[in-house]
Amino acid sequence: MIDFELTPIMKMAREFTHNYARDVMRPISRKYDEEEHVEPTEFIQKTHEMFSSLGFSFSTARASEEAEKSEEKKEKHDRPKMEMNLLGAIAIEELAWGCPGLTLRIPGPGLGGAAIMAAGTPEQKKRFMKILTGSKPSYGAMALTEPGFGSDASAVSTTAVKDGDYYILNGTKIFVTGGDMADLYVVWATLGKELGRAGIRAFVVEKGTPGLKIARLEHKLGIRASDTAEIVLEDCRVHKDNLLGGEKKEEKGFKGAMQTFDATRPMVAAMAIGIARAAYDYIYDDLVIKGGLEINYGKSLHKRGYVETVLEDMEAKIDAARLLTWKAAWMLDHNLPNLKEASMAKAKAGTIVDEITQKAIELYGPEGYSRRHLLEKWMRDAKVYDVFEGTGQIQRLVVARAILDYTRKELK
């Protein structure tokens, strides 16, 4: 039965995260944009405590629920107790509204955790999630991209060579979100180029493992509060128990990496929507609340002004992207294949966030270009949402293959 009513816990989560974003994140948002690479230590600690004590940190709750679920027998039509992906999308939109860079700094399982949940054995999920959901702030990073490839994840050249009970990893990983502070890294490596995609596997490398080092931090256009690291693996020895999915389950390798995106793309889309809404709200406050402009929804176009229709267009785009995102998250919550829908949401949100943040500056005038206001920051932050977790082009490729029922070979 089609329904758009949020559960009480979703409403509560939305209100809480919104207030947190407004009262805690917004006031320090500019500071950590200007001071790139300075760790927002107090924010990390405070946020961790806040979410832990409240007990509904979406990522933590999701991780523990998933771990619990994977131990139970899989029953058909078993409705999840809590719709963690939808809840997550709702909460993260609010946090990104506060500051997208700081949102990415919030401790939790992160992308590494998502990869573990997608590709790990029940034992591994339990073991690593314990680390990522403990009492200290912790973070799980995903190390997939290399200097030689971005979108084409099958081109992994980091090697994993078996040596007794261990694998020896060698290679360089870039664009590792939160790579400076991670407690564990999910590193994608190949067991042998000749094996193709089947040879690509993920290894959990814990912080402090000899041979793992942070080479440098990126200087970025936006989301500067979140550090992006280059890591180097030099004869880094990892125990075979850290090979996600175990040694035999070959099919979980590359597919596992891709499945991670089914869960993360709706979240990234939701963040993009949060940024778009931040920019929209900012100019709405100036033009409508303070400036007295009326948005005459439904009136004839010839009786309306340009600016009010631009505002309406922005709102409609945000609405469209959010509905797509909720649907993609909801599908995952209900164990429905959402590969296409996750990419649809990400493609749409990644596009509209650029459009809206750009236009908002124009409507604000010269002042919108000034770093006195956050508008210019949001436009910079926005750009990465059409890039990371798969570029807009990759999302369209995924959607196109799905609707055309084409293989990778049929649609390159």
Binding site: F4, E83, Y297, G298, A316, A320, L323, R396, I403, L404
Partner: protein, 365 residues
């Protein structure tokens, strides 16, 4: 609790309508567009689906089902996926039935709702748009003057569907002069109660008989006035939601056709769909269609929950009408020169889709 899943009943409803759209409506769509005539049998069969009588209470001879906006948007998308002109014709009785059901007096309900027959199409319609450049609902010009026992209607209406064959027409007018939506009420005129000026000749919707009519001081007894008490905006909301669903259906038709064509059509030794320029366009179309449908669902859900959905319906209609141009234009483009010919239906969907940005009350949920 959020859900994007159709109930069993809704799935059945959707499948029934989809089947009718593909097996009946599509068989006649081009012929109907060229000739300006919808075969009577198509209307009869469409009527027998019970979509305009299902929600009429048993006391007035209907099936006694609930009036569900969400069920109606599911129906509208599927039927418009078949053919827009036929959909508007088949569902035209609701343009009178639903306002009467919502705002009519007991006497009006008895009189008009019972005139609907489940096994026989009886024409009913409503007249709202006026033949003025830059027509604007807020400044609706048709007036209803209070003259003792009657209201006297003056003005002209345009794009009135099936005005020539309707047993009753609900004319929207305002008392005296003025602006805004709040002062608009309905007035029910019998067949022959107004002059038909001419049949409309439109860019699209060519199969649908639409007319300009002249009211020429038509007298409407007071008991035939449908007093909306400011409720016009609710009807408008319901009509705009209907438009979002209709345009989603038209777009889906164009998208699916272009997609199938792109997989068949070979250029440079490969299906054109294997090129990103075509495939990405199709992906964009698919994304927009999903977004439009979700807007229709969400807004219909709001109506069923008793919420004020005027803003969402209006915003969604505008968004969808814009997206529809993108989708149908590109569907035509994907077929290249063939898309420009009348051998393929995409040019028809492109023309039909243009109506949504300009018209009102094509259907109601």
């Amino acid at each position: 609790m959020v859900s994007f899943e159709l109930s069993e009943e809704q799935t059945l409803l959707r499948d029934t309508c989809r089947d009718f759209a593909l097996t009946v409506m599509r068989k006649h769509d081009r012929q109907a567009d060229e000739s300006g005539e919808i075969p009577a049998d198509v209307i009869k069969q469409g009527h027998e689906l019970g979509l305009t009588t299902g929600y009429i209470p048993e006391a007035y001879g209907g099936a006694g089902g609930e009036l569900s906006a969400i069920n109606n948007v599911i129906v509208l998308e599927e039927l418009a996926y078949g053919n827009l002109s036929m959909t508007i014709n088949i569902l035209a009785p609701s343009l009178l039935n639903i306002p009467v059901l919502m705002y009519g007096t007991e006497e009006q309900k008895k009189k008009y709702l019972t005139m609907n027959k489940p096994d026989q199409f009886q024409g009913f319609t409503s007249a709202i748009v006026e033949p003025s450049v830059r027509f604007d609902l807020e400044s609706l010009k048709t007036t209803a003057k209070d003259e003792g026992d009657d209201f006297v209607l003056n003005g002209q209406k345009a794009f009135v569907p099936i005005a020539d064959s309707s047993l009753a027409t609900l004319v929207f007018a305002r008392k005296g002069s003025g602006e805004g939506l709040a002062g608009i009420d309905g007035y029910i005129l019998p067949a022959g109660g107004f002059t038909i000026t001419e049949r409309e000749k439109n860019q699209g919707l060519r199969a649908l008989k639409q007319f300009t009519i002249s009211l020429d001081g038509a007298r409407v007894p007071k008991n035939e006035a449908l007093k909306l008490s400011g409720g016009f905006v609710n009807l408008l909301t319901r009509a705009r939601v209907a438009s979002i669903a209709l345009v989603t259906g038209v777009c889906r038709a164009a998208y699916e056709y272009a997609l199938a064509y792109a997989k068949e059509r070979v250029a440079f030794g490969e299906p054109i769909a294997s090129r990103q320029s075509i495939a990405f366009t199709l992906a964009e179309m698919a994304i927009e269609i999903d977004a439009m449908r979700l807007m229709a669902w969400r807004t219909a859900w709001m109506i069923d929950k008793g919420m004020d959905a005027y803003k969402e319906a209006s915003m969604g209609k505008r968004y969808a009408a814009d997206a529809a141009m993108f989708i149908t234009r590109n569907a035509t483009q994907i077929l290249g020169g063939h898309g420009f010919t009348r051998e393929h239906p995409v040019e028809m969907w492109y023309r039909d889709a243009r109506v949504f940005a300009v018209s009102e009350f094509l259907a109601i949920v």
